[in-house]
Amino acid sequence: MANLIVGATGRTVTSGFLKSVLQNGTGRYVCQLQRITLKFCKASGQSRGVRDYVENHLLDFAAANPGVVVYVTPKPEIHARLVAEYLNGEVHTVFVDKKSAEEIKQHVQSLVWRSGLPLVRLRKTQHTETPSIQGQWTPFTNRPASSTVALEERLKRLKT
């Protein structure tokens, strides 16, 4: 999480433009979250929210997102976390110690909506690969061919 670095300013954080993976959305939208693993402790108080989430919300989530594979792996004495794996191979981890089930639900939803690309500071909220359909301006743009000749003649006249 680049924006959590202490002392990070707008210049130290990696910046970039909006991107899409594999032209996603041109034809149809493909959810980029491939699988999500819930790791938590069965006994610890800090994992209580995750256990609550598993009991009350996880089945609804799995039913609503059949394209996401859900793994639940309890492990003693570990920090509760959500490990999200994306189609582009990236893995993102969210630590959810002491978070309530509602908060975890929101975290999971944000993982579903993400593209899997690294989090960067966006320089602009919109982006295009073709900034100008007219093309780059050059000194010759919109200049009629004959004008060179006319210019030379005028220069000659000025000299004489």
């Binding site: 993976v21 594999l22 041109t26 149809r28 493909v30 959810c31 491939q34 059949p66 394209g67 996401v68």
Partner: protein, 351 residues
């Protein structure tokens, strides 16, 4: 010292004590049991830090010797269920696919052979060695046929004036192995492939991707499979320069041919503008004319380059693949083939 260990080779777990280190350490450092005197001392354990430091040094040294760990398949991890992953594949792409078809599509021939070989080594009777397992050769053939047909039709409908060589060049670009492997990788195909070798070779990935298209055709019909090809394969043309895909060796010669076929005058390159001719950075702006009509213009730092580039621009203008043309018809209104055919007829009537 946190994050000290990496995944252990022997037990595939993240552990502080790297097993190959531990083996050598125990062999050398633990003294005989009779010599050990166990005493309990309370207070700061001053031996812990140097001990861990020694371990770390040893691990670092071993990592230097052995180099980076080889890539491991995703299926080697503990949270992996092939059936669940296979089930999620269809809904992810919005397709209703039969699990058996999908399983066949992901199975390479080499995997079946490997399994049969394993059975043979176990000493099973010959009639049991033969596996009743489908591989993807048939499905991938079907998928390739459909893909290549659809892409040709789509490009012809989009660029009706482009000669067949150009159409073929665009088709070859969009169906090249690197492109199909790239698409397959981003649809989550890579982890599901059943193949005898790892990492999975690119030709196998390509074949599996085509087999998936074949599976969509098998389960949901050709129209749905064509939509699949359009959404995932043809969509990769967005934002790409179509003219760069077709390498014309002699653009001026081709331009002359095309003009002659249309009964127009010969192409005539002329300098429209120039600047800094006697400097190290000259610019020549050349226009190509035919019957006093400007076909295209381009600039270059030498005259032959500018002329060639201008001829390319003129060709692009004539074939209607120029910059600033209408975007590809990838929207939902033109999804069905009937509508695309209608569009072709409309364009033909118009031209």
């Amino acid at each position: 010292m946190a994050g000290l260990g990496r995944n252990c080779v022997l037990c595939a777990r993240k552990s502080l004590l790297f097993h190959r280190s531990c083996l050598t350490l125990t062999r050398t450092q633990i003294p005989l049991a009779s010599e050990v005197v166990v005493t309990q001392v309370r207070g700061t354990k001053r031996w812990v830090r140097p001990y861990l430091q020694t371990l770390l040094n040893r691990i670092n040294k071993e990592n230097e010797w052995l180099g980076p760990l080889p890539p491991q398949p995703r299926s080697s991890k503990i949270n992996w269920n092939y059936e669940s992953e296979l089930f999620a594949f269809g809904p992810r792409l919005g397709e209703k696919l039969n699990m058996n078809t999908l399983r066949a599509a992901f199975t390479d021939r080499s995997y079946v052979e490997q399994e049969e070989e394993r059975r043979r080594e176990l000493g099973l009777p010959l009639e049991d060695v033969k596996l009743d397992m489908q591989d993807n050769s048939h499905l991938s053939e079907q998928g390739w046929e459909l893909t290549t047909n659809y892409i040709y039709r789509f490009i012809r409908a989009e660029f009706p004036l482009l000669p067949e060589e150009g159409v073929k060049a665009i088709h070859d670009y969009v169906t090249q192995e690197d492109m199909l492997v790239w698409i397959a990788k981003h649809l989550g195909v890579k982890d599901l492939i059943r193949c005898s070798t790892f990492p999975v070779p690119p030709p196998v990935t390509k074949q599996v991707f085509l087999a998936i298209i074949g599976a969509v055709k098998h389960d949901q019909g050709p129209q749905r499979a064509e939509a699949f090809v359009q959404d995932f394969v043809v969509a990769q043309l967005v934002g790409k320069d179509v003219n760069a895909m077709w390498d014309v060796p002699n653009p001026m010669g081709m331009l002359a041919e095309v003009l002659q076929k249309e009964g127009r005058g010969e192409p005539e390159p002329r300098i429209i503008n120039q600047s800094g001719v006697n400097t190290v950075t000259p610019v020549f702006c050349v226009g190509v004319y035919s019957d006093k009509e400007l076909l295209g213009e381009a600039s270059g730092d030498t005259l032959p380059k500018a002329v060639e580039e201008a001829a390319r621009v003129a060709l692009a203008n004539m074939f209607k693949t120029h910059e600033g043309r209408k975007p590809l018809a990838l929207d939902t209104r033109l999804k069905t083939m009937a509508e695309i055919t209608g569009k072709t007829q409309y364009l033909e009537n118009k031209s």
